[in-house]
Amino acid sequence: MEVWQTFVKMVHTLVPWFDGTVAIILIIFIKAMALLIPLMLVVAYFTYAERKVIGYMQLRIGPNRVGPKGWLQPIADALKLMTKEIIFPTKANIYLFLLAPVLAIAPAIAVWAVIPFDEGIYITNLDISLLYVLAIGSIGVYGIILAGWASNSKYPLLGALRSAALLVSYEIVIGFALVTVVMIAGSVNLNTIVQAQQGGIIYWYFIPLFPIMIIFFISSLVETNRAPFDVVEGESEIVGGTHVEYSGMTFAVFFLAEYSNMILMAVLSVIMFFGGWHSPFEAIPYLESVFSWIPGMIWLLVKTTFFMFLYLWVRATFPRFRYDQIMRLSWKIFLPITIIWIFVVALMTQLQLSPWF
């Protein structure tokens, strides 16, 4: 925080009115932009990576026409979507129709405010940041529900109904899964959760919470409407689900929200279970000093990229689940396992199991 105070003082000497409330608002704005612009770039190139990775997995090449090796493909896609006409379905509720994409993207971006990227690098250090992530993340479902309802069309409505039921049931699973993380770390602050995993790879929570880690990963696939749980879109069943009536920029906004949520879930899994910004070579005699020059943020991003790759890998590998199978997975398999694991973690805490407690 001292960096910002010196920054304010420096600018204050140049521009006298830059002080107090104005400075606070401007600094919040600068911080938000510093996060938002890289995030949007990552989202754009994540779509490119998705097409390339799945392409190679299916023995194709993927996009390779626009720019060298297709590197400009996401830019071309964005330009195309921006210039396309936005079509409003007849008798659709225009206000809610336009509000839906906003409600989808706003929470998807707002959640990033509490994500710690490195020791002391975050937009805000909220005391209850994990609950904030859950609460704001749960608002994103309104975007999909409203999109389905306001479109005045049958397939979107079906998609929205599926989405509402899925998201509500999997939020319970994710909530219970994160309870175990909170029990070990003793805090709902994401910074503290990462700091508690300091001291080498065996301190990371994926070891004591291995089943929970897998459940969290699968639930995050459902939460982000990814294959093999993409029944909300389900191209072969309900055309495009909630996106059927959306075109041009309104569709692009849904797309941005979905991919931004996916990256968020990858970052969350790293923060919860894979030591956040800590290096995997910590406490290993020789390797620790060799890799000590790499900043923590790079480690976080490398681990996050691995999880993002997992999302693509899963999509290229598994066929789509049937709707009732997804529901059964949530209520009859995941929920009992997470509840049992809460008792297991409580037992671990009582036994003072090293090295995690």
Partner: protein, 203 residues
Amino acid sequence: MGFEQIIFYIFSFWFVVSSLAMIFSRNAAKAVLFLVLAFFSAASIWILLEAEFLAIILILVYVGAVMVLFLFVIKMLNIDKSTIKARFTGYLPLRLVVAIIIIVEMSLVLGPSQFGLDVFSVPARHSEDYSNITVLAMQFYTTYVYPFELAAVLLLIAIIAAITLVHRNDTNRKKQSISEQVNVQAKDRVKIVSIFLPNKKEK
């Protein structure tokens, strides 16, 4: 007027406006959305009161789960708007009486005589490392642990009661046995019958 006051007035303005809009909007889905906005503004005001845990729980439980289910139900109902309008004017006198009684009761309980500055002093600002959730947890799990557990058991009973009420008539329900579906073999489904084909030479 400080920065915090400006924020407070913005949120309380939206709170009042969205609550009124919730009551007066004809469309049930819009009413639900205005209620969501009202919850959101209430949560923001609670954050200004340093009750951030309660604020987040309000959003997580009511906005994230309860109102989603509300919207879910409303979307599947086909509500006739004219009947709602007729009923609104039909019972108006009775409703006015009930509303006035509620307003009087609330002003007696929550009015300045109970919560004025002469009864309660101005709440002090806590320091930067004050943790609302820690303070709440210390109270819940030490001083009030038995009432807290009792409330949890009560909620569990409510859940079980609701499920048993829905599942009372266990006849005529379609069920899928996943293990049966997975273990199905080709020979259970497909029957290969040899059909006598006339030999070409005999023609």
